[in-house]
Amino acid sequence: MQRIGVFICHCGSNIAATVDVERVTEALAKEPGVVYAVNYQYMCSENGQQLIKNAIAEHRLTGIVVCSCSPRMHEATFRKTAEAAGLNAYMVEIANIREQCSWIHKDIEEATEKAIVLARTAVAKILLDKPLTAGETGVTKRALVIGGGIAGIQAALDIADAGYEVDIVEKRPTIGGRMAQLDKTFPTLDCSACILTPKMVDCAQSDKINIFSYSEVEEVKGFVGNFDVKIRKKARHVDETKCTGCGVCMASCPSKKGLNEFNMNLNNRPAIYIPFAQAIPNVAIIDPEQCLKLKSDKCGLCQRKCGVGAIDYKQEDSFVERKYGAIVVATGFRPIKLDNFNEFGYADNKDVVTSLELERLMNAAGPTKGTLLRPSDGKHPKVITFIQCVGSRDVSGCGKPYCSKICCMYTAKHAMLIREKYPDTEVHVFYIDIRTPGKNYDEFYRRAVEQYGVDYIKGMVGKVYNENGKLMVQGSDLLDNKQIVIPSDLVVLATAIEPDPSVRDIATKLTISIDTNDFLTEAHAKLRPVESPTAGVFLAGVCQGPKDVPETVSQASACASKVIGLLAKDKLKGNPCVSHVDENMCTGCSQCEQVCPYGAITYIDKEFRIGGGKTETRRVASVNPAVCQGCGACTVTCPSGAMDLYGFSSAQILKEVEAICKR
């Protein structure tokens, strides 16, 4: 016979203001199976938890129902409380009377009635709860970092620093990511490459870090502590172990018309190339779309010129399979495509550029060697107009509804750098709002205005059009309440950023969730910001939401500390809410095996006694509890009802339905 205790939390006034907690307590005390009911101001506080522990001992409770906030918030807390009082951690049920009740209803009568029903439902469920014990699994002491930008680099370095092996999988031919493309970084204006490349070199030199460049994650199986990952190493047609990065092949290549992705397609590169001078690994790669040898079997010059025989036209994709204990996702971002923004004339005018293109135009290693020249005629622009929020905070559906967060700061940076280097240049900035929270950020923006005389205009731009070689920027000046047209030589669009499109595929492979803007969802927006909802998978950088470099680095280090904490454990407790089979009912039909996404179900031949001293051997399902994730697909598929789920059994859910439907 179960002895249930019900604990109703006021959550300060969060619950108690709309739910009559006294009435809930009285009603629940009368429920069959309930031997004790009490309410308290904050159940999750130390005193509240002590109250629960005392009650468990005093009333010899076999299970507890806590009526409080969402189980996603404090289920783990109360499980620990129960365990500390000698109860099984799984003899705990939560009635969510805050998020599902007090916070959404205003009428006290209505909310109280609903709270009572929710509490009764939890009691109905707990009466059928059974003590569960989590199994233990080992931990593979190696981490995988997906994405080799600054987020991935920082996470990998920190994990390696703690003594664990890390593999970085980067889909591009070099690590470095977006930060490698930047010229300077705000708010200190130090050169991006000067602070990033030493970290890239550290990665290459660390004996704990292994870089899979030009590679992609092909398949992920397993679970926290034991992920089995298949990595596709795409064919670069150059033997990484032989190539010395001397660059002779690049000079010899006759096919020089490839678009240089690293320079945002602003200039050309040969078919065999090293993305940029500080690339890690410093190894050439052949673009198969462009290489004459690979396309039409003509040429072969680079192979003849290569002194170490590194060129291998026949190289094919290869696969590596490795085990990992933890995975960090750091897939980064890209600027959005501007197809929906014809009004800014980006497609028709070479001198309308995005901010990332401007970074390359100002960079000493860029197509103009750091001299700011317009792409159309190579002349110095005298009037430059910046347009902020291109595609950000756009609820029309053309762009993104969110704020890209970094644009206000980098636009101020660009404006400042231009005024510094070319004081005779006139710089205008159209803005909707200036958002510069952050250490030394607002001071930075004010310097652009006050010290560098950048002309900030509050208003939106309606149109950019070409008139006699000048780019006419037509917009409104909201503060002076007038329409203005600025004839400009160069127009820079502060383009919104979006998660790299590869994130969808990665999310599916890792079974982590993405939000409506394709950003990866964290386990808890405030309290678990670097963990994904899937145990053992962590999120760093812009794949989780727009961020600047300092924030990305902090998040990456936070990820690393989570990974280190995980890898430091020798054993992990699994989730005991897994499937199990009633072998007497199982007919061995294989339907559960077919729906299981984890391959957790296999079949065994087992002997059963059939009376009269005889036995028969039957084929029955067998669930591997270490692999089962507890989705319950098999429980519904099973035609004979042999499959059930611990913690969410069919009988329990039916009781919940009955409790809710009781009038």
Binding site: R72, I104, H105, S513, P597, I653, V657, I660, R663
Partner: protein, 146 residues
């Protein structure tokens, strides 16, 4: 025929998957986006855990509407669970319709963890539909009274 009384308080059972829709409901709550109190949520690990028997049971015990919420197709925490749900429930709901439970009384919605506003909107809309349909008497007449 029984008279439809205006005092009838509708009863809606909502099955929400733990990873997307239950989190979406939490977000609706923390954003204080209200929906009618007749909606009561049952947490399941995945929408594919919802056995058609649970839906039948709800109608047998007098529910006026049953709604299943899961992750968007392609975003299932368990990869493929919601695909099973989608197929299974399409069949189940058409069978219920045949039994006389209007198809408007059953619904599947995909609500992500980030869609608190959608959750509230879906529940408001569903509750409105159920209110307009009034009391559900078809399967309730057959229910086993203890």
């Amino acid at each position: 025929m029984q008279e439809i009384t205006t005092t009838h308080k509708p009863l809606i059972v909502a099955f929400c998957c733990n990873w997307c829709s239950y989190a979406g409901a939490d977000l609706a709550g923390s954003s204080r986006l209200s929906y009618p109190a007749e909606v009561k949520i049952i947490r399941v690990p995945c929408s594919c855990r919802v056995n058609p028997i649970f839906v039948l049971k709800a109608f047998q015990r007098g529910a006026d509407g049953v709604i299943l919420c899961g992750c968007h197709p392609g975003d299932c925490h368990y990869s493929t669970g919601n695909y099973h749900t989608r197929r299974r429930m399409a069949l189940m709901f058409s069978m219920l319709n045949y039994f006389g439970i209007e198809k408007e009384r059953t619904r599947i919605e995909w609500v992500s963890a980030a869609e608190g506003a959608k959750f509230s909107q879906v529940m408001n809309d569903f509750a409105k539909t159920i209110n307009e349909l009034g009391e559900n008497r078809r399967l309730e007449d057959l229910r086993c009274k203890k």
